[in-house]
Symmetry: C3
Subunit: 210 residues, 3 copies
């Protein structure tokens, strides 16, 4: 399997995870119908990648390859029918979200390096790609995005670490798609551990205790 094929598989897996995440979050937090669930799933799934490609100066992959739209629609539709089983379960939503975050962060960083962005810029672009879909989801649902909220545990940090692994190994001359996989696993584990152990970043000095 070529590197491009592996990136495509990882990217589509992220799209699917974010489609489930966005659609289930819609069912759980707002009064949405079939159309609303689908719109939210598709937007969450495709939003991060579209932002990534616009910032890279490329036609979004979503519009070049029909499989992105089909996978996003499949995830959103599946979530619609599963929602009565899953809607009270916050955990599956968080795991799907962590998967999308991880995969998109490392693919964003990988594509930024391919285009010739510097290391700092590649880490930023990977982080934006990772947190982008969930941020659009939360803005559309009219709530403060997970990436900002102090009650959401670590979210930008895992994405930064995942993108950072990709960029670090590329910078020292060991660029390989397998470091993207390793970065995604690191991001996923840090995100899930932060949820489980309730890790938070420090509050501003002088802020009242939570």
């Amino acid at each position: 399997m070529s590197t491009q094929s592996i990136i495509l598989v990882l990217d589509l897996t992220g799209v699917f995870a974010f489609a489930l995440d966005g659609a289930l979050t819609g069912v759980r937090t707002a009064r949405v119908d079939l159309v609303g669930v689908t719109v939210l799933g598709v937007t969450t799934a495709l939003g991060g990648g579209i932002i990534r490609d616009l910032l890279l100066g490329q036609t979004p992959a979503t519009f070049q390859d029909w499989r992105y739209i089909v996978v996003a629609l499949a995830g959103a539709t599946l979530a619609f029918f599963l929602s009565s089983q899953l809607q009270h379960l916050a955990t599956p939503i968080q795991l799907f979200d962590a998967a999308g975050l991880s995969l998109f962060a490392v693919i964003g960083a990988t594509k930024a390096i391919e285009v010739g962005f510097g290391p700092l810029q590649a880490v930023l672009l990977g982080t934006i790609t990772g947190v982008g879909g969930g941020t659009i989801r939360d803005v559309l649902l009219n709530r403060i995005p997970v990436v900002l909220s102090a009650n959401s545990r670590l979210y930008a940090i895992p994405a930064l670490l995942g993108a950072g692994v990709v960029v670090l190994f590329d910078t020292i001359g060991l660029g390989s798609i397998w470091f993207a996989v390793a970065g995604a696993l690191l991001c996923y584990c840090v995100r899930v551990l932060s949820l489980y152990f309730r890790w938070n970043a420090p509050p501003p000095p002088g802020a009242p205790p939570a």
Copy 2:
């Protein structure tokens, strides 16, 4: 009249309708002054087309042709002075919004086909163009966008149908600007009928009744 001229006229008509829609919605739902009304009208009017052109990889038409800005400003200014007559009337706002939705959906699909996007992608781009302006309007007004809300009747579906007509006839080799006009009329009628007859998409299985 050439096809390009017809597209321009339809596009500017959509801009004008969305400018009225955005500005009047601002007066109706928030405490906004002349500047706020104008900003909201112009943003609603130009937002969908700007998103469309960025996704197509083009310089937004708004910045290539001064008439877009002038038409948007004219619509917003007119709405400001008409608002005391119209602000309690939800119906004109909904009709302006339906007009903008319809025109932008078919123009988005038409431009996507011109650029060489596949059928599925062209339908998605048309739908995004149609619902984009109203979604920006609602995000700025800090409320859940019409495209997501189960109480807003059908909104993405008519845009999808309008864009779908354009793409269908192009795919079978009958591409013509008149199918864009037909698609816009279909979108407009379905949207208005859904408002009148209170059509909604089905809720998620197991969701509590409305």
Copy 3:
């Protein structure tokens, strides 16, 4: 110092001012931790310029030059540690915001002229660049953007004036970076005076008094 160097210095100064503004606003209005403060500062600082460059059809300066990211991070980090001194003081936040607004408005207009946009389009792009960062900040904080709110005094108008000065002097053949500096000073003064003297734009005719 070349014109390009002056533009870079002004741009980075705007980034720094908006990073302080966004980060301090986060501390003041939401429950955010170190990560949330940083994300909000960086997003406010870099958002306007990224929108500007996307609309100009260019790779965002943020991703071409690492100094943008470093300056944004420095401003956000500084704000985090200063926040216990500054968080109850609305005035510094408003002055940083006015500085970012002014600098970004004139740089946006300058870059639009360089790319060959018409006068009206250059004024619009400058205004969008000026108000963009603060609008993203407010959308992420789930509140109605300053640019729309009637209680926020003049905000889009000063940006429009600043961008207008740049475009006016360029149109009459006197283009010079010093008119950008003059435009920024005009924008800054009008914004600050409108805060001090509580200037507002007129409400819609027939609207109830404030």
